[in-house]
Subunit: 303 residues, 2 copies
Amino acid sequence: MSYPRVALLGLGLIASSMFWAMKRAGMDSHVTGYARSQATRDTARRLGLCHEVCDSVAEAVRDADLVVLAVPVGAMGELAEAMAPHLKPGCTVTDVGSVKQAVIDAVRPHLPEGVEFVPAHPMAGTEHSGPDAGFASLYDNRWCLIVPEGASEQATARLEAYWQALGANTERMEVEHHDLVCAVVSHIPHLIAYTMVGVADDLRRVSDQEVIKFSAAGFRDFTRIAASDPTMWRDVFLTNKPATLEILGRFTEELFALQRAIRTGDGQLLFDYFTRTREIRRGILQAGQDTDAPDFGRAAVRK
Amino acid sequence: MSYPRVALLGLGLIASSMFWAMKRAGMDSHVTGYARSQATRDTARRLGLCHEVCDSVAEAVRDADLVVLAVPVGAMGELAEAMAPHLKPGCTVTDVGSVKQAVIDAVRPHLPEGVEFVPAHPMAGTEHSGPDAGFASLYDNRWCLIVPEGASEQATARLEAYWQALGANTERMEVEHHDLVCAVVSHIPHLIAYTMVGVADDLRRVSDQEVIKFSAAGFRDFTRIAASDPTMWRDVFLTNKPATLEILGRFTEELFALQRAIRTGDGQLLFDYFTRTREIRRGILQAGQDTDAPDFGRAAVRK
Ligand SMILES: NC(=O)c1ccc[n+]([C@@H]2O[C@H](COP(=O)([O-])OP(=O)(O)OC[C@H]3O[C@@H](n4cnc5c(N)ncnc54)[C@H](OP(=O)(O)O)[C@@H]3O)[C@@H](O)[C@H]2O)c1
Ligand SMILES: NC(=O)c1ccc[n+]([C@@H]2O[C@H](COP(=O)([O-])OP(=O)(O)OC[C@H]3O[C@@H](n4cnc5c(N)ncnc54)[C@H](OP(=O)(O)O)[C@@H]3O)[C@@H](O)[C@H]2O)c1
């Protein structure tokens, strides 16, 4: 039920983790890989990433039954255009982009008749990037959202089975809803973390050394989030504009309400707000999407 | 060099961790404890927290050489007033509050002549609270900020040695600077996390179930931060008003600049901003204040 030949286009965190997860799952697919730069292709060869690293898109996709676009969202269209003439008739194209409407708009026009396009988005990642950042368990117990958008049931179900074999749970979603949900649970939190770290870095009255030395829970987590790849995140915000701006508008509205409560000394409003948000956390722990360990994230510091 | 008798007033996360850390350090101090509610005192007795749990403040502080105020910032003044008549002459009073100017203003007026007051703030915590949330290693390799503000060198140095024995590093700081640094590295990050989780909870177009199910890195961390104790954080924002409002003003300014860049499609600005914030993260890793493990926080999910 897996794909005999898989092509990974882009060899960063997401694609390399897919390869290691395929290996771990014992899939017997033949995997070709392509990356834009010689440096990344060399690293991939050194690491044994993919059975064959190709120097051109054409070579990589030739004969592939599944082609995975695993580059920043803003680069998907160009890549799709370059590969399109070389696709095997009847193959399936998918992507792993964090935004779906923009990717569909950029990719679909280039695809020839008879090629299935099943957009997908594994909701898993770290702040690291590049071909050496991947690991086999990245997708374990994480969600991979599938946006069928006109693909056949057969092609969709096959891609779902593939992602499940990599360790993920899958769920189908409408494209617009996907982009909104992701703005809430991922994109805007990243933007906020970037902003807060930027503020700390700007503030001349507090030195960088102090920010680093005394970084407490809260800020420390923000710095990790704000260490994520700048190209990827630039593209996310440029391409998920409507949802991003909607959620950002709501966020500043609520922040202003809390700011006013601080200014006027409205302790009851603050208390009630802070009480309500605890429930969401409880839900996430129950759903097994995080751990409740009191020393969360400090293991390596301790030793 | 330690204190023969220590009184812990308030028996939550911070005080209970202090007791377990004292025990681990093999200090031979006699520790009395007091908490407002019968329920907390009962739990403390059941856990063996403190050598003696007292039903009144007066009893708890009688004969104590060090008295630690470990209640929410807004409750410090009242507690100081209640204990003041019963303090042993020449003892040292300290606190662990997250805000320092407000605590000094609330506590100092009540203290009799000859009692030393050395405010302190251990920069360590979790999102859990209460007498059963503590653990001995909470302060290991964390900073405890000391704000001497008129205390004698002897009393200050003695408190520093005590905190070092609990595992912490200590650093002296001016009170106003303390409140600003903490607004940046802790208070505003918490406010922002609370706000973002509140926005997610409000949004009718995205259900709570979805927010919980698909919570990705970023948002997941925010929910942990936003699960912290509502009373403690209400008090922090009400009492650290000037620094909080200053940093909040800067934060919204920067957020608006990024929002405009998204709206106008200024990818270069976004890219440069996101690149700059990576450096801070590098500093924090080098300073040993966090771990770089790729599966950060997912250990318990995996098993
Ligand atoms: N990281 C996450 O947390 C995460 C989570 C879910 C989804 N995603 C999505 O997954 C995709 C890949 O992310 P990633 O984290 O794997 O990124 P990454 O580690 O930075 O790798 C990106 C890969 O894309 C290539 N690339 C970059 N710009 C390109 C261009 N203009 N043309 C052709 N190739 C280009 C890079 O090639 P070179 O190395 O040769 O430059 C690299 O191989 C993105 O669409 C992202 O939105 C990421
Ligand atoms: N948690 C952190 O991350 C952290 C980090 C650094 C500093 N701090 C500071 O440490 C202090 C204690 O925090 P914590 O985390 O240990 O809190 P906690 O776990 O919630 O415990 C607070 C304790 O204070 C008592 N208390 C609450 N309100 C009181 C009142 N009005 N009068 C008398 N006692 C009262 C509670 O008694 P009952 O149980 O009987 O209600 C409880 O024993 C706060 O000032 C906080 O700002 C906290």
